[in-house]
């Protein structure tokens, strides 16, 4: 077990910069998820931690040891790849025991440790099989088994659930989290799926275009996104974003041209500024004195109803209701944000006000 420290890590491929000075402190035993759209540099960062990519400038330390020039095999890490990367010519048992065999452990010890890992992951019946004889979920489990057999100080996961179907993904999500709770090993997990990030992480690192947009606990990111990128990336359906001007008064409000959205408690200093208002779909309520809108699409999910409504001029907002309102496309409604549930961002910089 070990903490992982990343200090001002830069990465360039030739002349193309991929990471622009990333710093993260990951505590011992923590489950950290790197999340962001594809191309944001999250996988590159993970591969740098693994030692599969060079660090252009900056520093990565595992435990107390700076590992910039340490080869992967001496970093005491284990990694689970998106496509599993199981050795096709080895059985499940050989796959799981490969790292131990490479480090020259006695056969009896390898067998015992493989068996223990297999029992944790319910893989015992498959030990003699080859990867191609396994289902996707089983292969995924073998890949995890290969990682835990070694009892490394850090687990790295590179989008491990992307190739699984939706149901299995949810199930494996739980299994990985449970495994982490059981083993307590420092885990760095890369995904582009914000739900995976929200459900699994102790802390989430949101990345975009090679920089960190925000680091924080899942609900912290959800409740107080640092900027418009994080606000629209975290949460599904995405936060509604409306542009307007902040106006003063007894209760300050944002004038979007089509609607006036009250923002109680907005800083007086910001009055007059161009802003972006963010309202989460579940913060919108039906209210007589709300913004006039026309229902465009109604999407019942069972647990809630998603309503896409036009607030004028083709500007759509999404609202999520837990009550099963009987709404039809074309129906006029009035929507108002719940008090205190409005996020305000500077229109130019996107930074939270």
């Amino acid at each position: 077990m070990a903490a992982v420290t990343i200090r001002k890590a830069h990465k360039t491929y030739g002349a193309t910069p991929v990471l622009h000075g990333v710093s993260i402190d990951i505590e011992d035993g923590e489950f950290v998820v790197l999340v962001g759209p594809s191309g944001c540099g999250k996988s590159t960062l993970l591969r740098m931690i693994a030692g599969l990519e060079h660090i252009t400038t900056g520093e990565i330390a595992i435990g107390d040891k700076v590992v910039n020039t340490v080869p992967p095999k001496e970093r005491d890490i284990a990694m689970v790849f998106q496509n599993y990367a199981l050795y096709p010519h080895m059985t499940v048992a050989q796959n799981m025991g490969f790292a131990l065999r490479m480090s020259g452990r006695p056969k009896a010890e390898i067998d015992a440790r493989v068996r223990r890992a297999a029992s944790i992951l319910a893989l015992e019946p498959y030990l003699a099989r080859y990867p191609k004889q396994l289902s996707g979920g089983q292969r995924q489990r073998v890949a995890m088994g290969r990682a835990i057999v070694r009892d490394p100080s850090v687990f790295l996961f590179d989008e491990p659930l992307s190739n699984l179907d939706a149901k299995l993904r949810v199930q494996m999500r739980t299994e990985i989290k449970e495994l982490h709770q059981r083993l307590g090993t420092t885990t760095i997990y890369v995904t582009h799926d914000q739900i995976e990030a929200m459900t699994m992480a102790d802390r989430i690192v949101v990345m975009h275009d090679g920089v960190i947009e925000q680091i924080g606990a899942p609900l912290e990111l959800y409740d107080t996104p640092a900027n418009t990128f994080v606000a629209s990336f975290i949460g599904s359906p995405a936060m509604n974003m409306l542009k307007g001007t902040l106006k003063g008064g007894d209760i300050p409000f944002v004038d979007t041209g089509k609607a006036q959205i009250p923002v109680p408690g907005a800083a007086a200093a910001a009055v007059g500024r161009a802003v972006t208002v963010g309202i989460r779909p579940e913060s919108l309520e039906l209210a007589e004195n709300g913004i006039a809108a026309t229902v465009v699409v109604v999407e019942p999910t069972g647990a809630e109803i998603l309503v896409v409504a036009d607030i004028g001029g083709g500007t759509y907002v999404t609202a999520a209701f837990h009550q099963r309102y009987a709404l039809r496309p074309g129906a006029p409604i009035h929507l108002a944000p719940a008090p205190g549930q409005v996020h305000l961002f500077d229109d130019e910089t996107g930074i939270r006000l």
Partner: protein, 295 residues
């Protein structure tokens, strides 16, 4: 909608041309095998026979030096060169195997470098390699002959081994590097993380999975040198280094042609590549890396 008549006609035509094409391809081969199993009289009978009435392996026996003294003596009178086939077979086999081994030893590390390492001008270099294949061999015969003579390798198997290796390695590198590229690099990444050095990741993961590709390279380079004629006929003089195609061709001379021996030598020449392809085609085609990644 196609009428039933037109559908039948279509099938009949397809079958007709299919059979025609089959005969075109297979006919000469059959003729060669059939003739090699006939006696001299039968072979020369008019009208020619399509099947040997009493198939005999006598010709094969003679070539390998097996048979009663009388038959062997007669064969010696007809064509003394018949007894050169056995040493030629050994030469061809040895040269082919060594060329295949040399290809594996040289092309594998080169192909790995092209497939996995980033270095300047790698693509240009590959292009140059493959461009050497565009040069007609006939252009190179004389200069190569001069080189081989200067270094004193005329009439040695080594001359052919080196020549064939030079000519087959570029293609082997090309083939192997594209094979390596098709293999998921994550497997080697996983091996590095599992505690392998780069060399170990190649030895334990890449090479075992590349066996079909390596086999393919070995067989192609073996076949390439096995059936090569031009350089063989120029560089060799005696049984010390003559290969099968050269000896087989020597049965055809100005005064007479011993068709039965030519055909028998032809079968012996054709057999190893045929068997190799037959045995290993499943191995070459069956991608061993199935199941490595999703799917």
């Amino acid at each position: 909608m196609i009428s039933p008549f037109r559908e039948k006609l279509r099938k009949a035509l397809l079958a007709f041309f299919g059979i025609l094409f089959f005969l075109f391809l297979f006919g000469p081969f059959y003729w060669m095998v059939a003739t090699s199993m006939m006696t001299e009289q039968e072979m020369l009978s008019v009208p020619p026979k399509l099947f040997p009435s009493e198939p005999t392996l006598q010709n094969y026996g003679i070539i390998l030096g097996i048979g009663d003294a009388e038959t062997l003596k007669e064969a010696r009178n007809r064509a003394p060169a018949v007894f050169e086939i056995r040493p030629a077979l050994i030469n061809s086999m040895m040269i082919g195997v060594l060329v295949a081994i040399a290809n594996l030893l040289i092309a594998t590390p080169a192909a790995y470098a092209f497939a996995r390492l980033r270095f300047n001008f790698s693509l240009s270099l590959l292009m140059i390699y493959i461009a050497t294949r565009m040069v007609p061999p006939i252009m190179l015969v004389v200069p190569m002959f001069l080189i081989v003579r200067t270094v004193g390798l005329i009439d040695t198997p080594l001359a052919l081994i080196i020549t064939y290796t030079v000519f087959t390695v570029p293609f082997s590198i090309w083939l192997l590097q594209s094979y390596f590229r098709s293999m998921p690099a994550e497997l080697e990444d996983a091996a590095l993380i599992d505690g392998c050095s780069r060399w170990q990741s190649v030895r334990h993961v890449l090479l075992p999975l590349a066996v079909p590709g390596l086999t393919c390279v070995a067989i192609l380079s073996f076949m390439g040198s096995w059936s090569e004629f031009l350089f063989a006929v120029v560089f060799t003089k005696t049984t010390a280094s003559r290969t099968l195609p050269v000896v087989a061709a020597s049965f055809v001379d100005t005064s007479s042609i011993q068709f039965d021996y030519v055909m028998t030598a032809g079968v012996i020449t054709a057999l190893p590549p045929f068997l190799l392809a037959l045995i290993f085609q499943r191995f070459i085609v069956g991608g061993l890396s199935a199941g490595a990644v999703k799917g």
